[in-house]
Symmetry: C2
Subunit: 421 residues, 2 copies
């Protein structure tokens, strides 16, 4: 397709999504669930087809010499197919957020005013290699009553089209318009440029991928973007921490998985407890192959620690590297998080009630925790059922974004002939 | 100031606002209320000063030949001064939204997950002539725990600076930083360009004013904008409407005030009830001097009605003009609202349960009403206490935006040493 064809194609897709969004918005829960279950059935049945399509993507990715990490994200296994189907069934089992009415109260004028939860309309999702996002995003958008336009990475085009066929089959079998979920058929980047500027047809964009992709999209979009930039997460071990909990939490926050956005990247330790926790913790980290970079006070407590540079405090390593800073008090810990953090997830370990309360209130991150690991910042762990992403924005939704983040609330007013004086 | 000076000045203002936002975010309710009450006291005490400053603005506006409607909006009377002070006291009396914790539930892992309501941070407000917005916006932002940067219309500069002095005095008397509310001191338009692109210092922009101002700001902003475009509001009189309620509501929705965004601009009437309501309604409208523009079916029912053009269905008259269309059924009414409306406020008049439910669910507007007047779409009437504006956006806040719309929610997680497996 040339550029003007792409514009025309995307306008066509957008218009169809807007029309479909009206049907999906009024679809009842049973219908949406029937579609989700039928999608899962089709995915299970088509396992061989999906794996063959994925093999095609993998072959051309390898031929292009694409890096191993990307190949890893692109790969769909039989287990991966089963997990996709399971994910759709889990979404079917979640309560339907649409139509929920809250706070319906009488006002002095006699009218009743409340809020009804409603779909956003059309959601555009832009993602990279992982093909399972196609099924997850389709399922979440559908359950939240939205139409979806999905734009996956070009390297996953065959996998995504195969999954899209199962999604379409599910929609049709429940009597819903197949255009409720559309997977962009062109790998041309111009399609993204169109998607993020079609204000009449798209209500919100959710980009998933590396920071540079997301920054570019946020910069160019003419539509609100629910975005996640980086996860520079902290654990602060307070002077009054329980030593055993502190060590367990700081270990888990760093080493349970290295490459996730909710992994701790900087450990802050109160000066007076440093000698009680740092030697034991360092041993755990070094045994697991974690490189430690400390400020001079931390280095003085543990040999075999490199001196951190200021840049280290800003760094999202996504790797077995940890920066460690000794702080004088809670204020200095909060100041450090405010200055260097990314407002993603931060935790305090303390037995002191007032310190816990202050940390909860004053740390301005999407998730703030007491006496537990940053690794819990996740839609499943929070009970949202599944997540379309994690938002580090401040308006609309913060933290893991599940069904509720894909909806909004309108006011409803019930009267009996009242007029305004 | 030249352009580079303005850039420097705005950066200075932004940095100060960001710093102040941290103090305001942790200020307790009593402190914020003390500041609000002190502001109100200062405004009452300085009535003569405020009126003198306003007279200065009015003189130069008249010298410039500014239109009467603008002069009207710019004018501050003694009663206006009292109302501003009263507004601040009402905000002081509202419950503090900041720190409210909801949905704190245990998860299978043993952690407790909930949400805490938190300020947005720094709010930039851009408005036109009305000086009272300076006090209202300052009060709402403060109570919601935000720092505010206010940019009023250049024609109100003296009035706004005089009000700003009272606001500053209130902040200082409560021990809060005076930079928590800053009123931009330059009337240069370049300041707006800076304000809406200072991503590091400003979290959200709320423009108030004409559609063209808001569209320009939304287009140029690099920061989320909570905006209100137009209010093409509808009342649909269903076949099964109570005639007496229908007439009362349709009268009030149009004629109680003509120039407000929640005034009805188009009346939709079911074909089978047209002859029962339209003659009586037309008489009311015509007696009040409302010009009627109907489709051919409506014109056939009432003489002295002009034939409407398609453009009329899109029009926000803000004037004693009403367009009237006869529709075949509920579906056609909803389709009309979907096609021509502005997703602001729409109402149905009906005694039919299913029609009311369908209208509530299917009309995608920020306020949807049954058997009452669109004129109720207002922060005070909804019990929000006051409003910073009305949002016709779909994410974050829809409808009247009060204190809650100036806040967001973060996740809080309370543990007792739990780690992720």
């Amino acid at each position: 397709m040339n550029v003007s064809d792409i514009k025309q194609y995307m306008q066509f897709v957008g218009k169809a999504a807007r029309t479909a969004s009206r049907s999906i918005a009024k679809a009842d829960t049973a219908t949406k669930n029937r579609a989700l279950i039928a999608m899962a059935d089709a995915i299970r049945r088509d396992e061989a087809l999906l794996l063959a399509a994925n093999a095609k993507d993998l072959d051309s990715a390898r031929a292009k010499g694409i890096e191993a990490a990307m190949i890893d994200r692109l790969t769909l296994s039989a287990k991966g197919v089963a997990t996709m189907a399971e994910g759709l069934l889990q979404i079917a089992a979640l309560p339907d957020p649409v139509g929920e009415i809250t706070d319906l109260n009488f006002r002095p004028s006699g009218i009743q005013v409340g809020k009804m939860r409603v779909p956003l309309g059309v959601v555009g999702i832009i993602y990279e290699a992982r093909p399972n996002v196609t099924a997850d995003a389709a399922g979440l958008c559908l359950k939240a009553g939205n139409a979806a336009i999905l734009r996956g990475g070009s390297e996953a085009i065959h996998s995504n089209q195969a999954i899209a066929a199962c999604v379409k089959e599910g929609l049709l079998s429940a009597g819903l318009p197949e255009t409720a979920v559309q997977v962009i058929e062109t790998t041309d980047r111009a399609a993204v440029g169109e998607l993020i500027t079609m204000q009449d047809y798209v209500d919100v964009i959710v980009p998933r991928g590396g920071k540079s992709l997301i920054e570019r999209i946020a910069h160019e979009a003419r539509i609100p973007v629910i975005k996640h930039l980086d996860g520079v997460c902290h654990v602060y071990i307070d002077e009054q921490a329980d030593i055993e909990k502190a060590i367990r939490i700081a270990d888990n926050a760093k080493t349970q998985r290295y490459g996730t956005c909710n992994t701790m990247e900087t450990l802050l330790i109160h000066r007076n407890i440093g000698n009680k926790v740092l030697p034991a913790l360092s041993k755990i980290y070094l045994d697991k192959g974690v490189e430690l970079r400390g400020d001079s006070a931390a280095c003085a407590m543990v040999t075999s620690m490199k001196l951190a540079t200021e840049q280290d405090w800003y760094e999202e390593y996504l790797a077995p590297i940890l920066s460690i800073r000794i702080v004088d008090d809670l204020d200095q810990a909060i100041d450090h998080i405010t200055q260097f953090g990314s407002q993603h997830t931060d935790a305090i370990v303390t037995e002191n009630y007032s310190h816990a309360q202050r940390f909860l209130r004053e740390v301005d991150s999407s998730s703030v925790m007491v006496n537990t690991t940053t690794r819990f910042a996740d839609g499943f762990e929070y009970g949202l059922g599944a997540e379309i992403g994690i938002s580090t924005d401040k308006i609309h939704a913060r933290g893991p974004v599940g069904l509720e983040g894909l909806t909004s609330q309108k006011f409803i007013v019930l009267g009996d002939g009242q007029i305004r004086q």
